[in-house]
Amino acid sequence: MSKKRKSFSLLLVSLMALALVVSACGGNGNSATNNSSAGGNGKGEAPVNLIWYTIGTPQKDVDRVMEEVSKYTQEKINATITMKMVDWGDYQQKMQVNVASGEPMDILFTSAGGFDYVQNARKGAFMELDDLLEQYGKELKDTIDPAFLEGSKVDGHNYGVPANKELPQQEVWRFNKGLVDKYNLDITNVRSLDSIEPLLKTIKENEPTITTFAMDKNYVPYVPYDYVITNLPLAVKLDTTDYKIVNILETPEMKEALSTMRKYYQAGYVAPEAATTGSTSDLMTSGQWFMDRAQTQPSADNLWSASYGYPVVSTQASDAIITNTSVQGSIMAISANSEYPEKAMEFLNLLNTDPVLRNMVDSGIEGVHYKKLDDTHYENLAESKNYDMPSYSLGNNMLLYLNPSDADDKWEQFKQFNAEGVNSPILSFNFDSTKVATQMAAVQNVKEQFWSSLMTGTVDPESYLPKAIEKFKEAGLDQVMAEAQTQLDAWRAENNK
């Protein structure tokens, strides 16, 4: 028996030793391939290959376009580009694994929502860019709205290059214009959640088969608070003076909104399965909806109407507020394991300042994927379906060519929209969750349990809201809140707020 056991442990040890050897080989292999394409900064040397991970459904022509992009960048900065796209739903998880396992990469997309920028910056996933920005990113710093660079600082340092786009977030009610016109509805006086009731009622009575108030499980009624941590119920009132963090579920505004939602749900305005619906895109395609809530940007109605193929109109549902979420909506970071951070920064600088490169990355190859109409306008060609990229995640939006239907001063409108946005009181405060990581994981589970069904009105807030609040407390929300308050107070003192 003892012999058997001894032999077993011997086997185990040898296996482990072998495992280390094998994995070490794997590691070496990676760096070797990287080195082969390495080179210095000077011209005439072999160009550096940068690996760029970005979000979006992988497109057929990515490699083809990147070949073209590489020709351009090789001439400008002696670097070639390999782009790897990871689909929307997988991005968070796959990047978590890619970064943790040290997959070679130089540039990667990150944001408040997908592959969390602040947390991953703190975990050391990204390179600190202060010096690199100074050295290789001068033009970039001059081009981008300074609020973006300021708002994406973590503990006083920049870890990424934000895309220049709309700065504030503003909620709007969107309406299917066909139905608005058919029933001659007045949408000019609509703003609060209560004010939409008569409209919902009319449509429900006359068009029973249509989803009156479209929403998916991520819907949250708008209340004038800014959330301290994305996805958790801790928030500060927008007009706060004492910077007190509260549980959003215990605020009178949210309580009222939830009973209204319950009323709407029971009246059948909300789809019965809203709390488990992942996306409303099939409704948008079929046009079988009357209204929903969305985030806007200048000339958004044009954009929506063009993409759905029928007219959509919108009206404001909130003020335009500049929050961490909106500032950190799209960032490109340089990976901590990048072999060529300087080159990567040079590339980011070029991408955000050079219209030729920026539009090539966005729309593909001229004459293949798009056709230029004049200096600032372009039109998609049939091939563009093989290279349909999300513009927001690929750098400075304000360099993009315009669609023929766009207003000529589209980017001017953006600048004005950005200038008019109001700063959230806690803009650029980033919570550090290290000390309460245990509670965060538990609180997250409670949130998943109650959130969607409460927010969509699927359950009665009378009985479920107290239950949810109780469960959050059990999971340690109070400790998280206290820790957040301490950090916020310190931040406030430091920044003289």
Binding site: L11, A19, L20, Q96, A100, A125, T458
Partner: protein, 325 residues
């Protein structure tokens, strides 16, 4: 079994080396057949064992890659295990995981054995094949698809079940926000998916039972029921015990797809649908703390390992030949 011999030579070494190689050559065909499986286990089960160390670390990225990151991350002792036990959720998810799996094992066993016996007794062998294939099919469906099957029955406004209830004048039920129905739904769906596969395993061993036993029994005037009770089930018992032992070993592993996809991740149902796997997934998909997910995985493995050892020990006490090892 080749394994013990193989190991003994490996250990003794020296003058027995030639003997070891002789054994290797003698059994080369068999060993070669074992090779793919052995390699699979090595790469996917033994190599990752080293990573268990992450459970005791606060994992932080470094420039030099994965191994360097592990080595350089800070030791945090048992901190990563705390979140599992910080709420009474630990009790809830452990209870759900254990009880559902227990139900799957017991009911699944009874039904698959019954199904296997029924199929083996069918006279029309063609028809038996048709049934067998029909029952086997769900096993190959992905849980995402099964989830949509269930949804087409349970949807509040368009589901078949609510329409049938409507004919009888019963009000539509909000299936996805009523926890009380879900233990039954989950057990039903899980059995529907797995019974076909398991019954084929049992059917195969029924086919292997010596037919002369039945002939002898029939001559003695045993009824069908007596034959089943006296021959089929006793002859099946070793395979039943092995299958059950294997299932018990995985009793701490919930079928993620079943508990995540079929209830459509509906929050109101968590009290009866949350199991260890889904709990860990939800807690970590946003925070991305690799240390904590490793800790949860280790906890699962250790308890699962203990359960296999205990049940094997019990089986060995009762019937030594039926034990796994």
């Amino acid at each position: 079994m080749y394994r013990p011999i193989f190991l003994r030579y490996l250990l003794i070494g020296g003058n027995k080396v030639t003997a070891f190689f002789k054994t290797l050559i003698k059994n080369k065909v068999m060993l070669f057949m074992v090779l793919p499986g052995a390699l699979w286990f090595f790469f996917f089960s033994y190599m990752p064992l080293v990573g268990t160390i992450v459970a005791f670390k606060q994992y932080r990225f470094t420039r030099e890659g994965f191994w360097a990151s592990i080595v350089k991350s800070e030791w945090v002792g048992w901190d990563n295990f705390k979140f599992l036990f910080s709420t009474n959720d630990a009790y809830l998810i452990t209870r759900n995981t254990l009880f559902y799996n227990l139900a799957f094992i017991i009911i699944g066993l009874v039904l698959s054995v019954a199904m296997a016996i029924l199929l083996s007794e069918l006279v029309g062998k063609k028809l038996a094949k048709v049934y067998q294939t029909g029952m086997f099919l769900p096993y190959f469906l992905s849980w995402v698809i099964v989830g949509y099957f269930a949804f087409s029955f349970l949807s509040m406004d368009r589901g078949m079940l609510n329409q049938v209830l409507g004919w009888f004048g019963v009000d539509a039920i909000q299936w996805y926000s009523e926890p009380k129905y879900w233990p039954y739904i989950l057990i039903f769906v899980s059995l529907w998916k797995s019974i076909g596969y398991n019954s084929v395993v049992y059917l195969a061993s029924i086919m292997g039972i010596d037919k002369s036993l039945y002939e002898a029994a029939m001559i003695d005037g045993a009824s069908k029921w007596q034959q089943i009770k006296g021959i089929t089930i006793p002859m099946l018992s070793p395979i039943i015990i092995i299958m059950t032992l294997l299932a018990v070993g995985r009793i701490f592993y919930a079928d993620f797809g079943l508990f995540y996809q079929v209830p459509r991740d509906s929050g109101t149902l968590y009290a009866v649908t949350n199991v260890i796997d889904t709990y860990v997934y939800r807690g970590l998909k946003t925070t991305g703390e690799i240390g904590m997910s490793t800790a949860a995985g280790l906890y699962q493995s250790v308890v699962g390992f203990a359960l296999v050892m205990i049940s094997n020990f019990v089986v060995r006490k009762i019937d030594k030949d039926s034990a796994l090892f």
